[in-house]
Structures are given as C-alpha cells and as structure tokens.
C-alpha cells in the first residue's frame, strides 16, 4: 500500500519536474531529503511524535528545507506529506522517483556484491557486460560481502546474477545430499 501511495506521489512530482524540465534536479533533492530522513533519527522522532503540534513540525521542516531542497516543488511535497501524516513514505517516494527518472533517461541501476574489493578493470568489465545484457546505461554500485568467499553477485533490473563461490558450494552440497 505504501508503495502504491509513494508511486502516486512520485508520479505527480515527476510529472511536474518533467513539465518544468528539472526532474533530474528534483530527483536529486528528493534523494538528499530521503537520505536525511533515513540518517537522522532525531528528525524522524520529531516529525513522527504526536506530542509535537503540526505547526511545530512544519516549522522544523521549513527550517531544514532551504538548505536541503531549495526547489519549491520538493518543499511543497514534504509539507504536504507532513500535513497528511505520510512523511514516513518519503524514502519510498524518492526510490520510485529515481526509477521514473532512470526509465526516462534509459538507465538501469546495478548492485554488485563481491568477496573482495573489485579493481577498476573488473568493475568496468562487469558494467559493460551488464549494459550489453540490459541494453541500458548501468549505474553500478559495489558492495564487499566476505560471506561470498569468492566471485560476484549482481542485482540488476529485478534480476540476481550469482557467480559467487558460496553459491557454488551450496549447489555442490545439494547435489551430494540428493
């Protein structure tokens, strides 16, 4: 439910940004605001606490807006979510907006997990391979996960490409058991 609500809000603001031609800027500001929401528990407690009045919450949020999101559309969206008690959906709205932007710009985001940090050549090879596979520009982020033992696991466009040693050993164990 939260996803559909967030998607409706994201679609609305994306339509405004697309109309104004600044949807990438709006998306970036929206991401920064979402990161602040995720990274600041004090802010979450203040805005979610019913002890504080709506005017007080609005005053707190308005004091942060000029620095984080100078765009008026993003400020209006944040205040609207606060008034309607849906400020908690802000991260989900930021992700949905990002997907809409990527879709608009022909991009795809990939998340690459590896047991050891990858060198630049390997990352470039993986990016190129993913771009060939998806046919879109790949925005790749890398994460180190020692539990993989070795190899690479990639999450891209709703798919999981698992080339880790851990998965191979798991398959080997299943074959031995069966």
């Amino acid at each position: 439910m939260g996803g559909s609500v967030a998607r409706r809000y994201a679609k609305a603001i994306f339509a405004i940004g697309e109309e104004k031609g600044n949807f990438e800027i709006l998306g970036r500001q929206l991401n920064e605001l979402a990161d602040l929401w995720k990274d600041s528990p004090e802010l979450r407690q203040t805005l979610e606490n019913p002890v504080f009045k709506l005017s007080q919450k609005r005053a707190v949020l308005q004091s942060l807006m000029p620095r984080l999101a100078p765009a008026r559309q993003v400020q209006s969206l944040a205040l609207l979510l606060l008034e309607r008690g849906r400020i908690t959906t802000l991260p989900a709205i930021a992700r949905a907006y990002e997907e809409m932007c990527d879709e608009k710009l022909g991009r795809v985001r990939a998340r690459v997990l590896s047991a050891m940090p990858l060198d630049i050549a390997s990352e470039a090879e993986i990016r190129k391979a993913l771009e060939r596979r998806t046919g879109k520009k790949v925005l790749m982020t890398t994460v180190v996960d020692p539990s993989l033992i070795g190899g690479v696991v990639t999450h891209v466009a709703g798919m999981v490409l698992d080339g880790s040693v851990a998965s191979r050993l798991s398959n080997l164990k299943n074959r031995l058991l069966n």
Binding site: S122, A129, L130, R133, G151, V152, V165, L172, L177
Partner: protein
C-alpha cells in the same frame, strides 16, 4: 305256585331294570353284576325253598325215629277221616337205633308202626290243606302231620300239570313282552352305545399301541445309531480341530510374515535415514572443508578470474556463468 312265579317275575324284572339302569350309566361291570344278581336271586329263592324242605324232612325223620324208639305211646289221636287202632308198644329189644346225624337216604326203611299213621298220611296227602288235619298236643299225630305235609310237597313237585305249564309259559311270554317292549330300545341303545364306545376304545388302544410301537422302534433305532453318531461327531470334531490348527498356523505364519515385512521396512527406512544423515554430514563436512580451503587459497587473482568468468557467463546463456535469480 302263582305266588312263586310272580315273585320270580318281579325279581327278574327288578333285576333287569336295575341292569338296564346300570347299563344306561355306561357301567359294564355293574351291568354284568346286575345280570349275575338276576340269576342269583332266582337261584337263592330256589335254594332257600329246597333247604327249608330238607330241614323239614330231616326234622320229620328224626321225630319219627325217636317215636319208634320210645315205648310209651301217647294217647290215641282222633282220626280225621277213619278211626285208628290204638298203637301197640314196641319192645325195647326190637327198637332200631338211629344215627341222628346220618343223611336221610342212609336211614333204614321204617315200617309203619301205627296203622293210624299211614292213613293219616294218605288222607293228609289227598286233602286240600295241611293245616286242617293237625291236632296240637298229640305227639304222634304231629309226626303224622309233618309227614303228610312232606308228602304233599313231594306230590306237588312230582306231578305235571299242563295248565300250570301253560300259565307259566303265558307268564313268561308276558314277562318277555314287557321286557322287550319297555326295555328293548333302551337296552339296544345302551348296547349300541357301549358297542361304539368299546369299538372306539379298541381303536384308540390300537392307535396308542401303534404309536408306542413306533416310538419304541424309533428309540431302539436311535440307540442302535448312537454309536455311529458318536463316531461321526468325534470325526467331525477331529476334522474341525485339524482345520482350526491349520488355520491358526496359517494365521500365525501370515502374522509372522507381516511382522517380518514391517521390521524389514522399518530397518530399511532407518538405514535410509542413516544414509541420508551420514550423507548430509559428509556433504556438510565436505562443503565446510572446501569452504575453508577456498577461503585460505582465495586471492585477488582468483577474484579477478572469477569476475571474468562471471562476465563471460553474461555473453552465453543465462546461468552458465553462475546462478541467476
């Protein structure tokens, strides 16, 4: 004579009536006794008359013998019809001793002592009545009177009278008519009923006898077949016991086989479980050992090589370079 016939007829009629009454009561024994009573009543009357006559004759003979033995002769009695001569005394040596207990026919013949006695006898026998010639108080005359009565009775019995016989026949005919007229139907009816009853009783007795004979025969046959039945029963019981033994053995064998199968199945299952458990342990241990070895031997070159293999798998079919979710 008339009195005797009437008495006899009345007695016979009463006896017959009593017999008829008893016959109507369906009492065969009573009917028989009634018939017997009828005959015995007539016989009794006749026997009684004969006994009285014998006693009288015996008494008269004794008196006559005693009179002949005595010397003293009583005063001469007046002759009824003709005068009698005075009796002469008989000497003692001429007296004949007489046994008082001897029967009449064994007594010696006595000659008339007194001439007046014989005529008196004859006169008395010819006279119409015994009572008219008797004179009380005269002993010899009394003897003569008893003899006369005795002779008179003998005369009546000895003589045959056609008239009397005709009267007797008539009386008998009347009696027979009365008996047939008044008692014939009832007697026939009772006799017929008795006949039917006896016939039915005989048939019932025959039927009961036949049934008893059949029952006896059946019982006898049953007793005769009892040993065969016992033998057959014993054989049947033996067969049943053998059959039951076979059935129990088969049942026990089936049960044992089923238990063996169950145990074998359980053992197989346990062996399989043990195999699976052992295989899992072996696989887990192997994978763990391999993981440790890989971790120890993994370096950047290996990581690069794995990344290249991963990238190479992108160009081929999905999953060739690794797992694809």
């Amino acid at each position: 004579m008339k009195f005797n016939l009437t008495t006899f007829a009345l007695a016979a009629l009463l006896a017959l009536g009593a017999g008829v009454v008893h016959a109507q009561d369906d009492e065969p024994a009573a009917e028989k006794s009634a018939v017997d009573d009828t005959g015995s009543a007539a016989d009794k009357a006749a026997a009684r008359a004969a006994r009285i006559a014998r006693k009288r004759a015996l008494f008269a003979a004794r008196r006559a013998a005693m009179a002949r033995a005595q010397i003293v002769v009583p005063a001469p009695a007046k002759p009824t019809i003709a005068p009698q001569a005075p009796a002469k005394p008989i000497p003692v040596d001429q007296a004949v001793p007489v046994d008082a207990e001897a029967p009449l026919d064994t007594l010696p013949a006595i000659a008339p002592v007194n001439e007046a006695t014989a005529p008196a006898h004859e006169v008395a026998a010819a006279g119409p009545s015994h009572e008219g010639s008797a004179q009380p108080g005269a002993g010899h005359i009394n003897h003569g009177e008893g003899d006369a009565e005795h002779l008179a009775d003998h005369g009546e019995h000895a003589g045959f009278s056609a008239k009397t016989f005709a009267l007797q026949l008539f009386n008998f005919g009347v009696l027979l008519f009365i008996l047939i007229w008044f008692g014939g139907r009832a007697m026939n009816k009772s006799l017929r009923a008795r006949h039917e009853q006896l016939k039915g009783d005989i048939n019932e007795a025959a039927r009961l006898r036949d049934e008893a004979a059949q029952k006896f025969k059946a019982q006898d046959q049953r007793v005769a077949d009892l040993e065969k039945e016992v033998a057959a029963l014993r054989a049947t019981l033996r067969q049943d016991a053998e059959r039951e033994q076979v059935r129990l053995l088969e049942s026990a064998q089936e049960r044992a086989k089923k238990i063996q199968d169950d145990m074998r199945f359980q053992l197989n299952q346990q062996v399989k479980e043990a195999e699976l458990l052992l295989r899992a342990e072996v696989a887990t241990a192997s994978v763990k050992l391999a993981e440790e070895l890989v971790r120890k031997s993994m370096n950047t070159d290996d990581e690069r090589r794995l990344a290249q293999e991963f990238v190479a798998g992108f160009d081929g079919p999905v999953g060739s370079g690794g797992a694809v979710g």
